[in-house]
């Protein structure tokens, strides 16, 4: 159903579909229409023009009724085209799945054979097959199917290789399924959409190829009509009686055109990449639709975020990823943001420099001030100037953020060049200096390495070096050590700590790990369902957490040195951010929740450096602030 609505949204595909449906309908009802016999010759009535009496589209060189021949011919061409497409898809998919699933020498032998088939020019191969088998419609069908098998085989093999190494295939194997069953019940259902897409885009091509063979006299044999043979027979009278060529020619155009438009539509509607919106290019900066006034600056910190609101608008739904977050960080300070996935910590960080993808992201309120200048709604040119130069980012997965085809040194120089012109020699010197700053051994040699030649820890050092390239004042690190091993994580954390002390950097460190926060951050903000629920100096919060969520989150994290024990789990799941409950978002999982917790806004109550968003905190915030 969703597929049909998606398809209908594409106007061209819809048009193609309607025309195609009409043509197919006509072809289906041809036998019951009151038409003249398509094969009866009447030389007295040859080359009648269209709209003659008894022959709506005229007659051909033997006086046969063109309308009747056209409809019967279309019927035949469509049938042959579809039959060829289905046989090519079936055989090709079977070859591709077997080769891709079993791999090894079987894959090698089969695919080299397919490659050899592909090395022949299309039409030449088809001609050779027909020459070997003899002319005739059935043989033309076999030829067209055969030349298209490699296309399907290669396509499907590629998909199958990916699927055969997926975990669910291993799981099926452990459940006792045989190879045949795994192919039929695990692999095939995941490949079918690809087969349909490949078929929908090639069936038009196959109809054309069949027509081509018939045109050359190798397909349908006289007196049987198909679109190609009609065109072939009319060739001699192309100048004197053009209508005999135009009628079948126009039909071929209509059929192939409508099938291709429909096929494109089917592909777009089935392709999962289009569904997620990945192919629609995001804007250079997040869309801003600020509702309400811009909060006035309170002049706190190098980076000041006030009442930031970021939403995702997907269809009719609104996901409130960040619902009014205020925080600030001073020079040389490290602020930790801790929360679970979906708590809005990353979106908060990305909103600062307008890096949330739009669509679907929209910043709907608040202000982000870097040295007092509001970043929300700043022209893109200015934003781009500040990105990397004032505020730089370090991301979780360094392999995904580095370009795989460029040397790391060149990527570093590019990051510098985005902000100021720099010569070759100077760029190289600067790149080496940066790599040394992040303690990469053998820096002069390492700058000509590609990202895949470096270990995870080394790649993350490059990521940090790139963030440092333009001497930013603020670094936003989004789970920079989550993908790393513990021994490497310890090195990276101490590196970041040294850098902030030696360069006076302000760091916003996003993590889900209390141990990391405790070791690195001066202050910490705990986020839940898009809001800050607790904030304060790290040591103070770890000692006396006020919000029940903070307390329970800390309790459920196992810590080294505590030995074997039962963990304190938090029951339930965080709420979906498109269906947030009124009042406290944690109420449903909280043992202390009362009726008041589930209604109205709950404000962040402050006392000294501590703040908590709770009506019944574990420890009163005044007491905790002492």
């Amino acid at each position: 159903m969703k597929f049909l609505t998606l398809l209908a949204r594409n106007r061209l595909a819809l048009g193609g579909g309607v025309v195609m449906a009409l043509v197919v309908l006509l072809a289906l009802v041809t036998p019951i229409l009151p038409l003249a016999d398509p094969d009866v010759t009447d030389t007295a009535r040859r080359f009648l023009p269209p709209f003659s009496e008894g022959a709506l589209l005229g007659t051909d060189h033997l006086g046969r009724d063109l309308l009747s021949r056209l409809l019967w011919g279309t019927r035949l061409s469509l049938a042959v085209g579809f039959a060829a497409a289905i046989s090519a898809a079936t055989i090709g998919a079977a070859i591709g799945i077997v080769a891709g699933y079993f791999g090894g020498w079987l894959d090698n032998v089969v695919m080299r054979g397919v490659d050899m088939l592909m090395a022949f020019p299309y039409i030449l191969l088809a001609l050779a097959i027909v020459a070997a088998l003899g002319p005739g419609l059935m043989n033309a069908l076999i030829a067209v199917a055969a030349v298209n098998v490699p296309f399907f085989a290669r396509n499907i093999r590629g998909i199958t290789v990916g699927l055969a190494h997926r975990e669910f295939v291993d799981a099926a194997r452990l459940s006792g399924l045989s190879d045949t069953r795994i192919i039929l019940s695990e692999v095939l259902p995941n490949v079918v959409p690809v087969i349909v897409i490949a078929m929908s885009t090639t069936v038009g091509w196959m109809i054309l190829e069949t027509a081509g063979l018939s045109f050359l006299g190798l397909g349908s044999q006289p007196p049987q009509a198909d679109l190609g043979s009609m065109l072939g027979e009319a060739r001699a009278a192309l100048i004197s009686h053009p209508h005999t060529s135009i009628v079948p020619g126009a039909m071929i155009l209509i059929v192939v055109m409508s099938i291709n438009l429909l096929g494109d539509g089917v592909r777009d509607a089935l392709d999962p990449r289009l569904k997620s919106g990945a192919l629609s290019r995001p804007r250079a900066a997040t869309l801003v639709e600020r509702k309400g006034p811009v909060p006035a600056s309170e002049g706190r910190g190098l980076l000041e975020v006030q009442d930031l609101r970021t939403e995702f608008h997907v269809g009719p739904r609104t996901y409130r990823a960040v619902g009014g977050v205020s925080l600030h960080v001073e020079q040389g300070e490290c602020l930790g943001i801790i929360g679970e996935s979906g708590s809005g910590k990353s979106v908060t960080a990305l909103s600062v420099m307008g890096l949330v993808a739009s669509p679907p992201g929209v910043i709907t309120g608040g202000a982000v001030r870097v040295e007092g200048e509001d970043m929300i709604g700043t022209p893109y040119r200015r934003l781009r100037d500040l990105r990397g130069r004032k505020v730089a980012y370090i991301f979780q997965d360094p392999l995904a953020t580095l370009h795989p085809l460029y040397r790391v040194g060149d990527q570093l120089v590019e990051a510098i060049r985005a902000h100021r012109p720099i010569g070759r020699a100077e760029g190289r010197a600067k790149a080496i200096e940066l790599l040394e700053a992040v303690r990469i051994p053998n820096a002069a040699k390492r700058i000509s390495d590609y990202p895949h030649e470096l270990s995870g820890g080394m790649r993350q050092r490059i990521g940090i070096a790139m963030a440092l390239a333009n001497d930013p004042d603020v670094i936003i690190a989004d789970e920079p050590t989550t993908a790393l091993d513990v021994t490497v994580q310890a090195q990276i954390l101490s590196l970041l700590d040294d850098l902030r002390r030696s360069r006076g950097l302000a760091i916003v460190f996003i993590t889900h790990d209390f141990g990391v926060v405790a070791q690195l951050c001066d202050r910490v903000a705990v986020m839940y369902a898009g809001r800050i629920v607790e904030e304060g100096p790290t040591a103070s919060i770890l000692e006396t957490p006020c919000h029940p969520y903070t307390a329970r989150l800390m309790a459920c994290v196992p810590e080294l040195g505590e030995g074997r024990r039962r963990l304190e789990a938090i029951p339930g799941l965080p709420p979906a951010v498109d269906k947030l409950p009124p009042g406290c978002a944690f109420a449903d999982r909280c043992a202390k929740a009362r009726a008041e917790c589930r209604q109205g806004e709950i404000a962040l109550s402050r006392a000294g450096p501590r703040a908590v968003r709770c009506l019944y905190p574990e420890t009163p915030v005044m007491e905790a602030a002492q």
């Binding site: 452990l174 459940s175 006792g176 820890g457 091993d485 963990l567 789990a569």
Partner: protein
């Protein structure tokens, strides 16, 4: 008492590169010969960093990968063919990424029925009853059975993965990073569930993880893997509290702990040894402050250091004087 699981010289070597006619040009030892005995009802934690061979070991244990040498014995019976159906009834696997271990085009009922039908040949009514029983055990609602994997959160999907492993009725579960894809609040739910199931069904666990604190919280014994070999194995309470192998100490010192100041436990930015060109002696020697000439030339064996711990080190750290 027979051991639930016994590994005898189990190793895996992968061919690398391809010369003329597809002959491999080199080989990488992903897992060096391992001897290991896991008594029934124990949780053995296996820790190590990426590339240490823990996933290769796990895949060999469930028959997804044929071992190069050695044998696997389950409750006294040898299983040396790499045939997942032979393994399936006795030893099962819980995957790291719960969502991708479920076929996106199958309902949960179809997923759950597969082991019952193909490993145990159960009839429809029997299967229904069994699924109901297992779902009750892992706290899942039966209405989930007719839904598709994408409708579930990570924690729920991992319960389904555990339920599928239980359906095979195996007595040993290999848990390969079962909670590392989950949020901390959900992680605790799943860990507690695993602890409950173990008591109720008399299971033996091999718990593989990179998170030392999680392993310490769930395991009876811990084995530390480095570069394809067990370098230390001992009671969970001792391994990280009083490490004997320098690598174990490095791991323990690297884990971020509340209240411990931030220091890089390793000053030099040292890297793992090259698997294509392994060092002749101890693989950790290049990173080790205690390394001597002997360490660089001879591979140390896993020896008893007293107090129930065994370490593969010529110069083990001192036992705590308590």
């Amino acid at each position: 008492m027979t051991a639930a699981l016994r590994l005898d010289g189990l190793s895996k070597t992968f061919p690398v590169g391809r010369g003329w006619l597809g002959k491999p040009t080199a080989s990488v030892k992903a897992v060096h010969p391992i001897d290991l005995t896991v008594p029934r009802g124990e949780t053995l934690g296996i820790v190590g960093e990426s590339g240490c061979g823990k996933s290769t070991l796990a895949r060999m244990l469930v028959g997804l990968l044929p071992p190069s040498t050695g044998s696997i014995e389950i409750e006294g019976a040898a299983l040396d063919t790499a045939d997942p159906t032979a393994f399936g009834k006795r030893i099962q696997y819980v995957f790291q990424d719960p969502i991708s271990s479920l076929n996106p085009r199958k309902t949960i009922r179809q997923v759950m029925e597969a082991p019952l039908r193909h490993l145990h040949g159960m009839k429809r009514a029997e299967r229904e009853a069994r699924i109901r029983e297992i779902f009750a055990d892992v706290n899942l609602r039966e209405e989930f059975l007719d839904r598709y994997p994408h409708e579930f959160s990570g924690g729920q999907a991992q319960r389904i993965g555990i339920a599928r492993a239980l359906a095979a009725d195996a007595s040993i579960l290999i848990l390969d990073e079962p909670v590392s894809a989950l949020d901390v609040s959900v992680q605790a739910q799943v860990l507690n569930l695993l602890a409950d199931l173990k008591g109720k069904r008399d299971l033996t666990y091999l718990f593989i993880s990179h998170d030392l604190a999680v392993v310490e919280a769930v395991a009876d014994r811990i084995a530390v893997l480095y570069f394809g070999s067990v370098v230390e194995i001992g009671p969970a309470a001792q391994v990280f509290a009083a490490p004997r192998h320098p690598y174990t100490k490095l791991l323990a010192d690297s884990a971020p702990v509340v209240g411990r100041p931030l220091t890089a436990p390793e000053a030099k930015g040292s890297e793992l040894p090259d698997p294509l060109n392994p060092p002749p002696g101890c693989a950790f020697a290049a990173r080790c402050l205690r390394a001597t000439e002997q360490c660089r030339s001879t591979v140390p064996r896993l020896d008893d250091t007293g107090d129930g711990t065994r370490a593969a080190c010529f110069h083990p750290l001192d036992a705590p004087t308590a």
